[in-house]
């Protein structure tokens, strides 16, 4: 069956993502809506509050950990501005693509699926006190057009959620 192709790619990708030298540890968080609604507005049923289409439009939210995993930047390099010293570049993208693998696969304890609107922290180091930089998953795309597909995650930087010093009370 053709499905074996994408299943096979996924298995190989998982192996590569977890063991790649450029992989980062990551933590994935999901929004939980705090607003409680009786499910109707003026007698008519409603899915959310006024003007609310999905969880991303909700203002009263909290976050909960979905699980930990591994993230590998899958952004193809494009021309970038260089620093004045010409020893590095400043990057080019507002959107960055990542391959993300949960530590445990779905079906095992702690296994999860990364979804749109989740926030992912890349752990910059290996300690509990290492800085964590935040990305929000704004879309999921596939590179293979056969189920079960091979997902790649489009992210935006969320520097307002960064935790530069996890040991401090707040930064």
């Amino acid at each position: 069956m053709l499905n074996n192709v994408s299943t096979g790619i996924n298995a190989i990708a998982r192996n590569v993502i977890i063991n790649h030298p450029n992989t980062f540890n990551c933590e994935v968080y999901r929004r939980e809506v705090l607003r409680v609604s009786d499910g109707s507005a003026g007698g008519a049923p409603t899915m959310g509050g006024m003007m609310v289409l999905s969880v991303e439009d909700e203002s009263e939210i909290t976050w909960s950990l979905v699980g930990v995993g591994y993230a590998l930047s899958a952004e193809i390099f494009q021309p970038s501005q260089m620093m004045d010293r010409r020893d590095a570049n400043n990057g080019y993208a507002d959107e960055i693509r990542f391959l993300v693998e949960p530590e445990a696969i779905i079906g095992d304890a702690g296994g999860f699926e990364v979804k749109k609107d989740d926030v992912m922290y890349l752990v910059m180091g290996v300690e509990d006190s290492s800085p964590r930089i935040a990305y929000e998953i704004i879309g999921v795309e596939t590179v293979v057009n056969v189920p079960p597909y091979v997902p790649r995650y489009i992210t935006n930087r969320r520097d307002d959620l960064d935790i530069m010093d996890p040991t401090s009370r707040d930064d």
Partner: protein
């Protein structure tokens, strides 16, 4: 113990004296870009300058067009009044930051019902005293806030004074502050938005704030936070509404006594200053929840390659350029990358 708010006696006259000095200075100011100038009557020989676009330079015809457009946009933004919440939400991040770090105290000192041209009460003006920041030449600032919902709260017997007080602090306000930030940056915006409580300002802030950005200074923001959330302000407004209902015309004049004000100021100053707050309470709460759950995240079974490399090399200055190369590819600015490397190398 002396508190930053000082003596309440004489506070109103001090505030009025400052307003008068401000008006006198303004009356003799030569380099004002008034509405007629903006309309097109500007005489180039006046050599006025602007900082529109980032550099200080002489005003051109194009600038006037930009000013007209900015004034139109800013003027229509707040039609129908501005609420305490909107002031906080629409303010600049830098102002909120300063309000949080530097302005620890905001105490309502006195309130007076303001009468309009017809002789009827049209708002309640509450005078707040805040501390001044350490770098300021003043020791305190006076913020006047007019609650526009006051007359209807007094006239309506449908709700208790306390409920009415809770309502008016969510309704439209006008405000004024005696600090330089308000005077040179924001007073023009509040005038064209029609939410100024003091002297109107017709001169365009061509040098300080040509883009007309922001709403309120740190003192006003601190006061608005107090109006939104403080029980003391609520009971102060309740007293004013009770007095207003007792009088025939709705007029009221209430004061805080020195002892209560000092006690409140001490209590406020002793509050821990939350560093990460933006003023948007929903956002702050969710961000705090995110931080908290991050602390309980389980450790990874396998330390990923990039993380290991970062930890191994962050303390070696010679490897920083290489690490910068890796990190900046993640959409991180140079400053953030340096902060990360320093954070890992600690």
């Amino acid at each position: 113990m002396a508190t930053p708010i000082g003596a309440l006696k004489g506070a109103v006259s001090e505030s009025q004296a400052r307003a008068k000095a401000d008006a006198t200075e303004r009356a003799s100011a030569a380099h004002i870009l008034n509405p007629n100038d903006i309309q097109g009557d500007y005489d180039v020989q006046r050599m006025l300058v602007t900082t529109l676009g980032g550099i200080q330079r002489s005003i051109t015809n194009n600038d006037l067009a930009a000013f007209r457009q900015n004034a139109r946009t800013a003027g229509s933004r707040f039609k129908g009044g501005i609420t305490a919440r909107q002031i906080i939400d629409l303010s600049l991040n830098g102002d909120r930051d300063r309000a949080r770090r530097q302005i620890t105290v905001a105490v309502p000192s006195s309130a007076k019902a303001i009468k309009g041209s017809g002789g009827s009460v049209n708002s309640l003006e509450v005078r707040f005293i805040t501390n001044a920041s350490r770098d300021s030449k003043e020791t305190r600032h006076h913020v006047a806030v007019q609650f526009m919902g006051y007359p209807s709260a007094v006239a309506s017997g449908a709700v208790t004074p306390m409920r009415a007080a809770a309502m008016i602090r969510k309704q439209a306000v006008r405000f004024d502050c005696d600090c330089g930030r308000h005077r040179y940056w924001f007073r023009y915006i509040s005038t064209i938005g029609n939410y100024h409580a003091g002297r109107a300002e017709n001169g365009y802030p061509k040098i300080r704030n040509p883009d007309l950005s922001g709403v309120a200074c740190k003192h006003v923001l601190r006061v608005m936070a107090e109006i939104e959330g403080s029980g003391v302000v609520q009971s102060f407004l309740t007293r004013a509404i009770e007095t207003g209902r007792a009088s025939e015309t709705g007029s009221a004049s209430v004061r805080t006594n020195q002892k209560d004000a000092d006690r409140l100021a001490e209590k406020q100053a002793a509050r821990p200053k939350a560093k990460g707050n933006t003023g948007d309470r929903n956002y702050d709460r969710s961000r705090a929840a995110l931080r908290k759950s991050s602390k309980t995240a389980p450790t990874h079974k396998k330390k990923a390659g990039s993380g290991q490399r970062l930890s191994a090399l962050a303390s070696k200055p010679e490897a920083h350029d290489a690490l910068m190369g890796i990190i900046t590819k993640l959409g991180i600015t140079k400053e953030q990358a340096i902060a990360i490397i320093n954070g890992v190398g600690k």
